[in-house]
Symmetry: C2
Subunit: 155 residues, 2 copies
Amino acid sequence: MKEEKLLLSSQICFPIYSVSRLLTKAYKPHLEELGITYPQYLVLMVLWENDKVSVNQITEKLLLNTNTMSPLLKRMEKMDLVNRTRSKEDERIVIVALTDKGRELKTKALPIPDRLFDEIVTDEIEIDDMLKLKDTLCELISVLTVKNEASVPSE
Amino acid sequence: MKEEKLLLSSQICFPIYSVSRLLTKAYKPHLEELGITYPQYLVLMVLWENDKVSVNQITEKLLLNTNTMSPLLKRMEKMDLVNRTRSKEDERIVIVALTDKGRELKTKALPIPDRLFDEIVTDEIEIDDMLKLKDTLCELISVLTVKNEASVPSE
DNA sequence: TATATTTGCATCGTGCACGATATAAGCGTG
DNA sequence: CACGCTTATATCGTGCACGATGCAAATATA
């Protein structure tokens, strides 16, 4: 029954892919209050931890490439969340720094993860996508657990 | 230490988001041999399991919306992987069916998941992204395990 | 049988992702 | 200094994702 391997449910990748999208969707209403998208939220988190970092440092933290970051940062600059200035020591490097507006968003962003986690765990919100998210998350956990037991990295 | 909550590492969402992208990237070279993308691969898997289904049935399986599926299916039709015909019983419904070419891809696609899993588990491939993937996957598993223990759904 | 509502799909606009490529600054070596 | 090589960022093209909107076919309701 080699066929089984091609079922969607038997693959690690599909549930991860779905949960990722559904989680981003779950974040959306909260982030919309701040007027930002999920990737922009990630960039802000990097800067809230450590302000004034190079584009490269951000891409390393987020595992994204500059061809994604450059336009993203440009949009964020246009929104007055960050500003970008060339380093004087090395003209190749662009330093990304929070504006006051970008810094202030941190307070509003703080409660989001907890609020979201509560929404998922408790059954307060019975929205369609939230149910799918819970189901898919449980599926992912079980698949990962099996896969993980089958192949603990030899450290 | 409420601050901690905003660290990237302490959130469920970021590792899932990263693993999802890195896994898709890991699939890429294998799928490129078939000339398809990851979402196209997902559509084909649905059709390999069950040919001649409506657009709606595909979106339900993949948890995607028609505004993503419609152009995706159009591209796949242009690539001669599927064809789209309006149902005669209900003119609103579009039936998606595999072409011979689409059906034949199944054989080539069968070994991909196993090959990929081996690549990740064993250290045969020490590509940069693959290492990130392993790290992030392990992180994800540990985060999910903690979160899961803290909140097993009451069934 | 008219009208309203629902359903299934498509289109549009925007924002990622990412491979390929470009470009300019810095660096290394002769 | 000239040369090539590396590094940091940007640009371009393509393909998702997805909210908002549109539209026609089917169905429900008056």
